[in-house]
Symmetry: C2
Subunit: 435 residues, 2 copies
């Protein structure tokens, strides 16, 4: 699922291959400085443009279920009813959520983008990510748009993948062959990640001609099995957006093959987001099996990866499995009381830790469990003496996981959930994010 | 609600006054070393005994709703049906949760305690707190019991308040006059705190003769308004227990007066637990008003104090109010979709930050919000260079809070929830709790 590289240049070479744009798309990006209306200090924004050669009827999008959705989400939902979409304009730094005049600001940026591309304003989808509460610097954005258009390039999506990030450590690009064409996807997101029907910002581009109706059904299924099964910090963003665009340059011969490729790209991008989660030093993979329902299986996995005490223990390579059972019991006690847990069996790193209603522990097992946690570390974990955390030198992270198996033993449903540990880096990054 | 002291000696004097035992009770404690069966290193355990002069029919207890309750909780639930209770035996260090033979171990300790006090085994309630998964050192505990009995004293509950702690920074003792007698309560708990019907370990002793039936109804109401309205880290313990014992030494003249005293002690102990929460440097008080239901009001308050991104921002004195709105929207989107939020109004430190669907922010407000967060700090907040955190010197903490008001504007229900920020200390304390 993931790749390991000896150094950054090997990773760059792999990224360049991944990032080749499917036929019919161009991508470009530009950066400028401005002063937010609500803050005293200047800031820097990157504008990223994804454009089709011709507007397409075949597009799909899913948005956050947060009850305070951003203005771009509100505009994006309307775009779903439009006959065609031609471009996506994305900014970082400010998420345009509940800011006065936010919808008008998003529509102004769309109209200016459309004018430069020769499209109509309703053919442009706006997306924003960053600080919640501040207003978009609309005039500065419109002034910078011509540079973004001038930067449009038909070869690589990598500049766009790098342009949409905020606190991300590395760009996230994944591709898969799909039928006779390909799918390439990019994602941003490192914190405020527990998607509910969609995740931060994900763009999936394909040259395969799949009709709108099938495209939307496939996207819903792929997102449910990927972005909806991860959590970095249990927070559901106000801006979560997944967009899938087909240029239709390649006729479709095999819908099933296309859907398999779509699932692969979504699954791999979801894994990248967790591996790059804010402060994440261990990815925790929970496979829940034999649960009474898919909903319960997913919820138990989420309960484990969202339990701060268990997350802290993993961060410290401390196999405090009591906290694992506590997290499961907390969820069942609060949300599924009456569930029979007497057959529950749990393993960590393949080692049985709980069965027949009781822990199965010993000093020898403790040693083996510590070794499993240490091996699953993404990077060496230590609080820096000066409080300043930097990106790891063994970039990009490998795909080792803390492997948990929870066999509930009273049903047939199975789910796999990915999450991260809770580290000093997460606290440092979020205790003063805006300064 | 809370007290501020110039130094530790003033606090000790206040504690001594608070800790006077009501008539009819004795308390004692003893400490010993042992080696846990599941771990290679020796450990230290404190045994604490609360004893009535004579077993009483008038007792009440509430226990965790975690679906993996500890053995003492299972035994304690049975005790509720017994005609009388004469003593509570409490150990720290090991919580006796899902350990093989856990119930038998708890019953053996009860029987040995009863024999020393001249009671029957079913008149003793067992409680345990500490590491989940390990087994009680039953033989060593029984060998230490005579010292605990020898230490029984009718004057002060303070040694017991100090004996039941694990990661707590200070003993928690509160008293209130109640009718013609008094209620004194002690609590332990600093992490794994989001009680569901009861909290970690709380013991409430009164000399007022209130019949069992009224006692139990009053305890349920008092707990719901106090311990069920706090969260340190969203974790529901497997051992949560609240016990209320009446010695009946003072006849009851005013049930209402007694209940007011009970509420006061529970509310103050709940506040103490949050102020002493693991790593807590800001207490966050959220008053939710005009919600459609009490359940939604409470849930919105909990959603805010359990949102890791908002908790981190508070830790850094960063008024990132976007994360506050995100947390409310996440809860409503996932659990109460369709709720009308268009009238929602929010203030932080009395300053309006959100109304009429939009943020109300400015550089001047930002400065004032930062000042409010700084003033609400319990202690100076800085990551220590050596990674080692120590108790604050201005012990005990004062009662300043980060004050949030959320007027939902579409109902009549009100709730107040207390929680804490998320700091480096929490991560440090829990990344290697057992070592």
């Amino acid at each position: 699922m993931s790749q390991t590289f000896s150094d950054r240049s090997a990773h760059r070479a792999w990224l360049a291959t991944q990032a080749a744009l499917p036929a019919g798309f161009r991508a470009g990006t530009t950066t400028f400085d401005f002063t937010p209306r609500e803050a005293p200090k200047p800031a820097r924004m990157t504008l990223t443009l994804l454009a089709l050669d011709r507007p397409t009827a075949d597009f799909a999008a899913l948005f956050t279920r947060n009850a305070f959705p951003g203005a771009p989400v509100l505009v994006g939902r309307k775009r779903l009813n439009e006959p065609a979409l031609g471009a996506v304009i994305i900014n970082n730094k400010i998420s345009n959520v509940c800011a006065p005049g936010g919808i008008e600001a998003a529509e102004r940026v769309c109209a200016a983008t459309a004018a430069l591309l020769g499209f109509s304003a309703t053919q442009v989808l706006p997306c924003s990510t960053g600080v919640i509460g501040w207003s978009l610097p609309t005039d500065a954005m419109i002034a910078a748009l011509p540079q973004a258009v001038a930067a449009l390039d038909a070869t690589s999506i990598l500049p766009a993948a790098e342009g949409i990030v905020t606190t991300d450590l590395f760009p996230k690009v994944r591709r898969a062959p799909a039928d006779r064409g390909s799918i390439v996807g990019i994602a941003k997101g490192a914190g405020m990640i527990e998607p509910n029907l969609a995740t931060m910002l994900v763009y999936l581009l394909t040259d395969v001609a799949v009709p709108r109706r099938e495209l939307r059904a496939m996207l819903a299924r792929a997102v449910d099995a990927s972005f909806n099964a991860i959590s970095v910090d249990s927070e559901t963003s106000t801006s979560d957006t997944v967009v899938l665009l087909s240029s239709g340059a390649v006729p479709c011969g095999d819908l099933g093959g296309f859907e398999r490729g779509l699932h692969q790209v979504c699954r791999e991008l979801a894994g990248d987001i967790v591996r790059n989660g804010e402060g994440v030093r261990h990815v925790i993979r929970v496979r829940v099996s034999n649960a009474a329902s898919l909903g319960l299986a997913r919820a138990l996995g989420k309960a484990v990866v969202n339990a701060p005490l268990f997350k802290c223990a993993v961060a410290g390579n401390d196999p405090n499995v009591g906290r694992l059972i506590q997290a499961i019991g907390k969820h069942v006690g609060a949300h599924a009381p009456g569930t029979n847990l007497s057959n529950l069996r749990a393993t960590l790193g393949g080692i049985e830790i709980f069965s027949r209603g009781a822990f199965q522990l010993s000093p020898d097992k403790e040693t083996a469990l510590v070794a499993h946690l240490r091996e699953a570390q993404l990077y060496a974990s230590a609080a820096p003496r000066d409080g300043v955390f930097t990106a790891p030198i063994d970039y990009p992270p490998h795909d080792r996981c803390v492997e948990l198996e929870i066999d509930v033993g009273n049903g047939a449903a199975t789910a796999t959930v990915l999450g991260g540990d809770l580290t000093h880096e997460y606290v440092s990054e979020n205790a003063d994010y805006r300064s």
